[in-house]
Symmetry: C2
Subunit: 329 residues, 2 copies
């Protein structure tokens, strides 16, 4: 018996007008779990509106229900209940959410352990790989008919938040939920093509330039890439795209730490680290006033490129010397 | 009841000495399913040797049992049974298999619809996403204890043959088998890191050069990349690595066909096509004496680069005009 949702189910049953929301800058899990929740409420005969402060990213616009997402809430709109999914803190719902008055009771459904339990009712399941997985569990518990439209949203949510079922947070249950969504008609190739193979061309133009800077050092344990302001200007690509390229540096055989140096402004670099296994790059970031997680961290350092590289390299090398116990990569 | 394996189980039960094999140039499913089969037989108290004509690729050497794979079979070695997995034709087992005499009865377990049923007993399940999935079903049916070592092999087999659960051949059962493997202790992040993030550095050096040739045309429906002999020489990278880059061309938003032109020798190009949805590039390949599948095809064309590009482009454009009904990419 899954009784996490007992209070939630009680509130859903006795109310009629629902608002569903998730965090600013929504990614696959935010969009997919919010849309699945909204469509599920409609299956129950409820009125449900999905609010997201920011636009649905281009790659997720195919998700069923995305066309009905609103970005403003009227002053006189009154809801019985607001269900918030995949959002750790109230203020991450955005300005336009804050301004509204008629939220009603707030139900907070999330899988982030750092969630501050801002709702009137809170269901926080850090073991869930995605909020979409929790929405599935809730709808399932209520015997809601999971339509193909709902299934596509849940599948997209779980697929994106597990990095195509690769991240360590992927559980047997994540895979079983995905299996059930396929049974309901989801085409995994169609969804992964839309999500993972719809890059802007300028991403690859920038990547070409950035890969030309690839440098391996310290016995090939460290791989470095550089992004200059000039490259971003020439390709008209977003800096967020560039920051993601650090994963290419880590994905080289034998490399324990991948580092990307992106020129943030003349004389200042934003540095991104990705490590494997035991090497804790958050501690390297911390030395330079940054931070992050064990295997993914960052910091900003002022100076000329060579100078910045030398500082970062020597701190990283020292850390690898302490932490590295990796075999077989 | 899964009774596909009844005859196989009967033979396994009454025999003692087994050889297990798979195809030349083995990939993840070949290696993983053969090793899982071998380890499973050992769990049953049988003697089992795994033979692969070619070396286990570097990225799969971590798979449990890989260190015991043999590449030769002695003239006087006699087996009761040879179990062949993931191999459509007998001659794809390689020269060293053919030369041996003591194979015994041949059991052929495969998921390729094109398998020519070369065994004394044949179990061919085209619906299975991977041979590894079938080996799991067989071991499960025999109540073999699936050790963590077996689970790692089965997970790697299914993960690689479904492209990390993305290809259209991925079924609910594929995902359920993967879920069960996680339950038995498989770490999905560890395995995907080892398999997907262990590229040689020269791959990225070559990719940088190749991406610099990116060209979009025909309303951005076609993306083209070029690999020259000079690039391969400068980076010392394998041509097979280069051929895989065609996927980057297809992965651009709006692109319906990605084309890679690789200089095979001076004045001759090997062309790879990847399409989305309805556009059948096998028919384009066929025009130039090549072929393939609907969404992945190739051919060789002689001539100077611009001349070859023009021929291929006009044939591709014509095909897109006929086939394209894609919305939303």
């Amino acid at each position: 018996m899954d009784n996490r949702f007992d209070k939630v189910i009680d509130e859903i049953r006795k109310n009629k007008n629902f608002l569903v929301s998730s965090h600013v800058n929504p990614e696959g899990d935010a969009v997919g779990s919010a849309l699945a929740m909204g469509l599920g409420l409609k299956e129950l005969g409820k009125s449900a509106k999905v609010f997201l402060h920011d636009n649905v990213p281009e790659v997720f616009k195919f998700l069923p229900g995305a066309e009905d997402v609103v970005h403003n809430i009227g002053n006189n709109e009154i809801f019985d209940i607001t269900i918030v999914v995949d959002c750790g803190q109230m203020d991450r719902l955005g300005e336009n959410f804050k301004k509204a008055k008629g939220h009603g009771k707030i139900i907070n459904i999330d899988h982030h352990a750092t969630n501050d339990a801002f709702g009137h009712i809170n269901v926080i399941t850090p073991d869930a790989s995605a909020a979409g997985e929790m929405v599935y569990d809730l709808l399932n518990e209520m015997d809601v008919k999971i339509t193909k439209d709902i299934a596509v949203n849940i599948y997209a949510a779980v697929m994106t938040d597990t990095g195509s079922f690769r991240y360590s947070g992927t559980t047997p249950h994540s895979l079983e939920v995905a299996a059930e969504m396929l049974r309901l008609g989801v085409n995994p190739w169609d969804i992964s093509q839309r999500v993972y193979e719809s890059y802007p061309a300028k991403r690859f133009k920038l990547l070409g330039m950035v890969l030309n800077t690839l440098e391996l050092t310290q016995d090939n344990k460290i791989a470095m890439l550089v992004v200059t302001l000039d490259m971003l200007k020439k390709t008209d690509a977003d800096k967020e795209i560039a920051d993601g390229f650090v994963n290419y540096a880590r994905s080289i055989s034998g490399v324990e730490v991948g580092i990307l140096f992106r020129e943030a402004k003349p004389g200042e670099y934003k540095i991104s680290f990705r490590s494997r296994g035991n090497v804790d790059v958050a501690e390297v970031g911390l030395i330079f006033g940054g931070g992050g997680h064990k295997n993914a961290a960052g910091c900003n350092v002022k100076g000329a490129l060579e100078e910045v590289k030398n500082k970062i390299l020597s701190a990283t090398m020292e850390k690898i010397g302490k932490d590295s116990r990796i075999q077989g990569f």
